[in-house]
Amino acid sequence: MDNRPAEVAITGIGVVSPFGIGFEALSAGLLECRSRLKPLTLFDSGWEPPPVVAEVAEIGELPEAARRSAFRLSRTDHFAVQAALGAVQAAQSSSDFHEAGGIIATTVAGLSEIDPAVAADPKRYYRDGGFSRVTSYQASHPAEAVGDWLGLHGPCWGVNMACASGGAAIALAAAAVMAGEVPMMLAGGSDALAPYTVSGFHSLQALDSDPCRPFDVNRKGLNLGEGAAVFVLETVEHARKRNAPILAILKGWAMTNDAFHQTAPDEQGRGMAQCMTLALAMARVLPDAVAYVNSHGTGTPLNDVAEVKAYETAFRDRKLPIPVSSTKSFIGHCLGAAGAIEAAITIASMRRAALFPTLSLTDPIETRAVDWLMGAPRLQPVPVGMSVSAGFGGSNACLIFELPEGLAES
């Protein structure tokens, strides 16, 4: 990394989550400690009782929907466009938006729209109305939908690093802004609940049939969720020049790979620990300065143990245990959107001066390194927050945010 400190301003955040549409709805839901985990109703999973998930109840109409009707939107695309519109509105749009690019992470993309029959007899499937449905299959489609809807002229592409994708999209966009390639970037992640992923995680026996309990010794697995979060990123200088509101500053980021196993994390959490260490170094932030970590915390037996080991390594020089929670206990695991939604939650925690807890956590994994957040939200200033994500294939991503001057002391 070069010697310049990373100073990327977050000037807009748009969210579609199981709490509803908007960053404020997400913040308020977390502060009120409302779990959104319920039995699946969106489609028939094929087994009883239906799995526990977090659904987006109402996706709402997009403005100008009629004019854009030629561009077929999957549920994932719809979330992405809605979140992007919210982000741009919050960022008080400027003419530079047309020069902006978009990086949107997804793992599902249009798979939610495609019927398995496409594999049995594609020709018949296309003839019977499936032809246009598969156009949203490619992982670049949510980014293209955002670019098309907002008239972005910069590069628009999709990123897929499994469940670390959302955080990685923000990191890649930040690097593009810092390099001066584009004046602004829209970045985040979007994924809809789909029979493909629900049955896939079911087949791996990774789902908890009850609301999940991340980091609890009695945890049994994860619950899936859906939604999107999109950020507007620009240099601090650019944001100040156009008098845009700065919600937070992205100070550091890193991406690593475990190089260990396709579905299991490195047992010692080495890849994730290294990811956090690299991000801290880039941010020039000491481990003691981090006030909150929004963890990956899926609730699966292997992930949570490896993640605790990673905290023990990355924060070993810290004087006090590091406050950690998993907000997947509220909204489930949103896969490719998880990293972006949880980055938004980290910023919500900083701006609300509140540490959100892990719901259903009563008997945490024993460690001296972590201050487990349980019960009610803990109200205290959060000047620096960290968001950590991991995914199949050994992907890790870490983002470190700081409150802008003036807000940090409040």
Partner: protein, 367 residues
């Protein structure tokens, strides 16, 4: 000074020319008959001949992986060998392992196993989905396997940029190197051709008549062109600084100068000019076009090229021997590097145009 420039130092490919290390010897090839699925009459495409991966990379285990993962593993291993990168000599905990990144550009990812997953669901229902297939069907499975097999702990990125996926991977790799997030990058791009993709293209009426008979496909840009022939394949290159390459005595095939992409259909010419940076269009010895024989894409690309170069610059169209697929960018670059005439000026431009008018351009200097 080449020491401080980004260089392409190793090449591995899996293509209709077979699995190969380094440059690809020139020979003309024709589309092959599709026989991987039942077809009515003749269906042709530029296909990769089946091969045993362990015959190319001894000891490589690829059972139960998607073909894209297999080809990425083979191409990456060949590129690493070609670049004389001795990864086995590195300690498993060595810092250097976290300084080597993997970037993959693909349009469709592991589409073959996605289809297998769906076929299982058709037979047994969603409640009995296959736990082996599901994680292997994820888009990032190929790049993850490359990291796992080669022990690479740096950033591992899979991106989709449709027909610009290969160019996008090269641009992203250069960004990781220039921002100091990696010292070397294994850059991959590719796609596999499967039945649902072929039949979708057929239903969309975008294929050349030569796909359905024995006639040779018309050349891209030719007045009689009538569509494209689908293809498949993967290319991997090692990108790193000239200093690192020279210290190891690695071959330097090309210097990566700059690359940009845009979604703005009006901006294609300015993207090319940005990619050329300080050079003028007159200095370009060759344009590696993405023209594929379709009326729309070829017309768009020709119009862009005329705006920047007039009619004077030599153009090569590697899709004549590779066919059309989203992740073809790096393979097209390798074909051009392999077949270029040494008399040409060394500056080449890799160009990708999408039917919607989006564009990516990369400038490279041949060595």
């Amino acid at each position: 000074m080449i020491e401080n420039q980004l260089c392409i130092t190793g090449i591995g490919t899996v293509s209709p020319f077979g699995p190969l290390q380094g440059l690809i010897a020139r020979r003309e090839i024709q589309p092959r008959m599709v026989n991987a699925w039942p077809v009515e009459g003749v269906r042709r495409a530029f296909l990769v001949e089946p091969f045993r991966p362990a015959d190319v990379v001894p000891g490589l285990k690829t059972r139960r992986l998607d073909r894209l993962s297999v080809w990425c593993l083979v191409a990456a291993a060949l590129a690493v060998r070609d670049a004389r990168l001795n990864l086995e000599a590195l300690d498993l905990e060595a810092e250097e392992r976290s300084r080597i990144a993997v970037v993959l550009g693909t349009g469709f990812g592991c589409v073959e196993l996605t289809e297998s997953f769906f076929q299982g669901v058709c037979t047994y229902g969603y409640a009995q989905a296959d736990p082996i297939i599901f994680p292997e069907s994820l888009h990032n499975a190929p790049s993850s396997h490359v990291a796992r097999i080669l022990g690479l702990r740096g950033p591992n990125i899979t991106l989709t940029h449709k027909g610009m996926s290969g160019e996008g991977a090269l641009i992203q790799a250069s960004a990781l190197l220039r921002t100091g997030q990696a010292d070397a990058v294994i850059v991959l791009a590719g796609d596999t051709l499967t039945r649902p993709i072929y039949e979708w293209l057929e239903a969309a009426s975008v294929l050349s008549k030569s796909c359905f008979g024995a006639t040779a496909p018309p050349q891209p840009f030719a007045p009689e062109r009538d569509g494209f022939v689908p293809g498949e394949g993967v290319a991997a290159v090692v990108m790193e600084s000239g200093r690192r390459a020279m210290a190891r005595g690695a071959p330097i095939y090309a210097v990566f100068r700059a690359g940009f992409s845009s979604s703005n259909p009006e901006a294609a010419a300015s993207v090319i000019r940005k990619a050329l940076s300080a050079s003028t269009p007159d200095e370009v010895g060759m344009v590696i076009a993405s023209a594929n024989g379709s009326r729309l894409l070829d017309d768009l690309e020709r119009a862009t090229l005329r705006k920047v170069f007039g009619d004077s610059t030599p153009i090569v169209t590697p899709k004549t021997v590779l066919g059309e697929f989203d992740g073809s960018g790096i393979l097209r670059l390798v074909i051009a590097l392999s077949w270029v005439k040494s008399k040409l000026p060394p500056l080449v431009l890799l160009l990708a145009t999408s039917p919607g008018g989006a564009c990516a351009a990369i400038s490279c200097e041949l060595r």
